[in-house]
Symmetry: none
Subunit: 235 residues, 2 copies
Amino acid sequence: MARRRSGLSPRHKKILAFLEEYQQDKGYPPSIREIGDHTQISSTSVVKYYLNQLEEMGYIERRSNVSRGINLIKNAGGSILQTMKNAAAQAMDQLVTIPLVGNIVAGEPMPVPSSDFSYYDPESGIDIARSLLPSSDPLDQLYALRVHGDSMIDAMVNDGDIVVMKKVDQARNGEMVAIWLADRDETTLKYFYQENGRVRLQPANPSMQPIIIEDPSIVEVQGKVVLVIRQLEKA
Amino acid sequence: MARRRSGLSPRHKKILAFLEEYQQDKGYPPSIREIGDHTQISSTSVVKYYLNQLEEMGYIERRSNVSRGINLIKNAGGSILQTMKNAAAQAMDQLVTIPLVGNIVAGEPMPVPSSDFSYYDPESGIDIARSLLPSSDPLDQLYALRVHGDSMIDAMVNDGDIVVMKKVDQARNGEMVAIWLADRDETTLKYFYQENGRVRLQPANPSMQPIIIEDPSIVEVQGKVVLVIRQLEKA
DNA sequence: ATAATAACAGAACAAATGTTCACTGTCAAG
DNA sequence: CTTGACAGTGAACATTTGTTCTGTTATTAT
């Protein structure tokens, strides 16, 4: 039999390759006996023998007495698996999933996710290409709402549309914002303009008249509209 | 105890979160007892009970009688997690680029890509998550147009909006289509209804009146509207 | 109230799986 | 040739771990 050289023997490589392939395929690591079967090693003790060596060499991590407790650190080529994760993350990065946290209904306050809101809360999310979003916005401040009813038609937003919002509590001129009008008990989407002490809320539909509010304190900005999506054909 | 809602209960979410975190941290999935310990579930049978439900819902895959044989398919947000190798390719696949071939202007015929049109012709394209599009549509029949002017406001489409169209020459009832009205020299977006020999073109804005056309031969369907996108903040 | 169903508990069980150990074979150096 | 480190075998063993089962508690519907 060949003596232990400095590097990896064919069996070492075979085991590492199998570990990677198996984890890839099944989503969890193989057992010692499965490794043996697929690498022509008939004895479980020999598999353990090799696994110990691979662990010493830093290719894997193991937790003793734990079934399938093998963590592949780097593959046989020596390149760290983490780089792969990064590549995937980068590709994923082009596509962001925005939580769909609720509905906009004119007569009731709009749901806004709390700052500590759980990643797993939303029943569903919508996927958006990053290129459609303002590049600067941090993703965790974005959330989406589905519009219910025809109350937003003067904002050119229809029943069933999805609006992507950014959490802000102050609007700048010219931005479209979601506003809770305390005196009317109403949520509305309007272009926001603050000019000489009063607030003008301009509908997106140029044929509609603006709302002028003399007392800015009663307008409550819920968020800024970033994107509106209307699916005519349901996916 | 709370009844099973349509979506995921807090425990479902907790388990999914733990599965993801554990796998990320250790490199292999947790055992049933470990899941129980970290999610305040005292009985292994209850953990199994939830795992069965998660499997039925498609969030995980399991191999029976296999220790830690859990494969996390998608997280609670519903986005695909897959294993790292496929993730990059899959993520790419989730994103489609649709050619932006021109503008819609009310007074002139709408540009429609010819059938042999080169995929690389358009100066620019827009990236759309596949999940937003009708799953059935072949991608090569989709194209996008930018709306110029306020002429489409009765279709709830604003100046600057992007409409994604599908090439069709015949519309079915209830579809929103782009139509060239020969007698008016005008392009318009309307809901299409053909009923007892005549065509009714219904604006999306429910407060507007429909156009009735007695002679169907003068309506020329340019395409079907699949998606409308409005970017409030330019990227 | 009552029945039905979902949610949960805990123990007992069986199977999967890692570990240990005594033993055999190989090869190179003294 | 002998020795010793390395490589490998196979079985016995001990844990870990998934499964099943009986039963209890809550929630909803009738």
